[in-house]
């Protein structure tokens, strides 16, 4: 309570600036405090528990075809994991389209192991003690690109086209609240409540601020989430209908965001509010 008063006394100074975004000194302090302790939390991230689980799921013979995922090609050749995550989404000749990491893993689970898309899409997000297998697997795969540079290719025409489609989805305003992704993520230095909003339209460090920490262990609920969930929940709050799990729309959106993150270091599975 005492702190609240201190904080608000400082915020009070900004009253004369009505019409300007409120950026009282205390808010910067709050952000700095969050960043500092985010680092403390990252020193030992429960996400590592899902890396272990994902590795097991990658190697185990599973599914109707009793096969492992070790022959899964994530873009760098069958079974090559090192650096694969930071080069996704990318074009795959066997499907003729650009696919993101989890979409490709789901594709492998279907083609190599014989799982059905409908079953995987039925309950695709973590809740309580339940973690869908693709989430654990993508966490493991992502961890094999830790501290590597994001280098999502734009050499194939389909990759450039998918980027452009993703960009159009990003700026598409619709729904009862007239929101697009850009409503919250199209300018620098904004916050929702106390959460900083990365500007995904600004290639480089800004755009990468989210991408470098997903998949992420989410403190709310204490569950592991991938970018599939992040996109899904953004559309929920955007007041849109629900996007299909591991759909091409999500892959396009992720292509836009990932390409804009190129050149930045991927930090590995992160920890999120």
């Amino acid at each position: 309570m005492r702190y609240a008063r201190v904080l608000c006394a400082a915020a009070g100074l900004a009253v004369g600036l009505a019409g300007q975004p409120a950026t009282a000194q205390s808010d910067d302090r709050t952000a700095a405090e969050f960043d500092k302790f985010r680092e403390v939390l990252e020193e030992a991230n429960p996400a590592e528990l899902w890396e272990l689980k994902g590795e097991e799921l990658w190697r185990q013979k599973r599914g109707p075809k009793n096969a492992s995922l070790e022959q899964c090609d994530l873009g760098l050749g069958a079974g090559v994991l090192k650096g694969a995550y930071v080069q996704l989404p990318r074009y795959f000749a066997d499907t003729g389209k650009v696919m993101d990491a989890e979409q490709r893993i789901v594709h492998c689970m279907i083609t190599l192991q014989g799982f059905k898309y409908e079953d995987l899409a039925n309950r695709p997000f973590s809740r309580g003690n339940y973690t869908p297998d693709p989430v654990s697997i993508v966490t493991y795969v992502a961890a094999q690109s830790r501290e590597m540079k994001i280098a999502v290719p734009q050499s194939h025409p389909k990759e450039r086209e998918t980027y452009e489609i993703g960009r159009q989805i990003f700026f598409y305003r619709a729904g009862p609240w007239d929101f697009s992704c850009a409503s919250c993520h199209g300018a620098d230095g904004l916050r929702i409540r106390t959460q900083n909003l990365p500007n995904f339209t600004k290639p480089g460090a800004q755009a990468a601020r989210s991408f470098i920490g997903w998949p992420g262990y989410r403190m709310t609920g204490g569950v592991m989430h991938s970018l599939q969930w992040r996109m899904n929940d953004c559309f929920r709050q955007q007041r849109f209908p629900e996007p299909g799990y591991a759909s091409d729309t999500i892959a396009a959106l992720l292509t836009y965001m990932a390409v804009n993150s190129n050149g930045q270091l991927y930090r590995g599975p992160g920890i999120k509010r």
């Binding site: 609240a4 904080l7 608000c8 915020a11 009070g12 900004a14 009253v15 600036l17 009505a18 019409g19 975004p21 409120a22 950026t23 205390s26 808010d27 709050t30 450039r160 086209e161 980027y163 452009e164 489609i165 960009r167 159009q168 989805i169 700026f171 598409y172 305003r173 619709a174 729904g175 009862p176 609240w177 007239d178 929101f179 409503s183 919250c184 904004l190 916050r191 929702i192 409540r193 106390t194 339209t201 600004k202 290639p203 480089g204 559309f235 929920r236 709050q237 007041r239 849109f240 209908p241 629900e242 996007p243 299909g244 759909s247 091409d248 729309t249 999500i250 396009a252 390409v259 804009n260």
Partner: protein
């Protein structure tokens, strides 16, 4: 020099080196993908993907449509605002505070009738709530600073009802127009901003 080249490169990527025709074609493709890939859930039906004229123009012109279009659309949005029949624009600021603090309403996980304004997501309001967003301007001390006038009361009601009547491509939702908040709820939020007793004005 080097910086300039990098910047030009960045701009080219951001613009995607796409011409206006390309843009329109990509947008058409994007819409087709979304219509194929999205499904209805809860109250969020797929018709939400259909843009109205305002949404289409704001998307097409990157939130900066031609002047004549802005004038016409803003006038139409203004004409659609239903003012309270009793001529009173302010309700109960305490109820307004609850609405302002709630992020509920209109998502596929909300029950119909869940009415939140999500005001704190974007605006600073009461000094007692340090957790506020900065997407919109600070509204701290709103009535006190702007004056508790009849004109301002009406403006606040209208602005919450339909922000786009004043700024066509505003980020702020059209709370009345979209049916998110009803007349009484808009009055309550207006009171939160305009009642001298509201914490916003302390």
């Amino acid at each position: 020099m080097r910086k300039a080249i990098v910047f030009a490169g960045v701009a080219a990527v951001a613009a995607g080196c796409a011409t206006m025709q390309d843009e329109a074609a990509y947008r058409e493709q994007a819409v087709a993908w979304m219509k194929r890939d999205f499904h209805a859930r809860g109250m969020a039906k797929t018709d939400r993907l259909n843009q109205d004229e305002l949404q289409r123009a704001c998307t097409q012109y990157n939130n900066n449509p031609p002047e004549a279009l802005v004038k016409r659309v803003e006038a139409a949005e203004m004409a659609g605002i239903k003012l309270p029949a009793d001529g009173k624009y302010l309700g109960d600021w305490k109820r307004g505070q609850r609405i302002a603090s709630s992020g509920r309403g209109m998502t596929w996980s909300d029950k119909p009738g869940a009415a939140g304004g999500s005001c704190y997501n974007c605006h600073q309001l009461s000094p007692q709530q340090p957790s506020f967003g900065t997407i919109g301007p600070s509204l701290r001390g709103y009535g006190k600073t702007r004056g508790y006038t009849a004109e301002n009361r009406k403006y606040v009601y209208q602005r919450i009802y339909n922000s786009k009547a004043f700024s066509m491509c505003s980020t702020m939702p059209r709370f009345g127009h979209s049916g998110t908040l009803n007349e009484q709820q808009i009055k309550d939020v207006a009171a939160y901003l305009m009642d001298p007793a509201s914490p916003v004005n302390q």
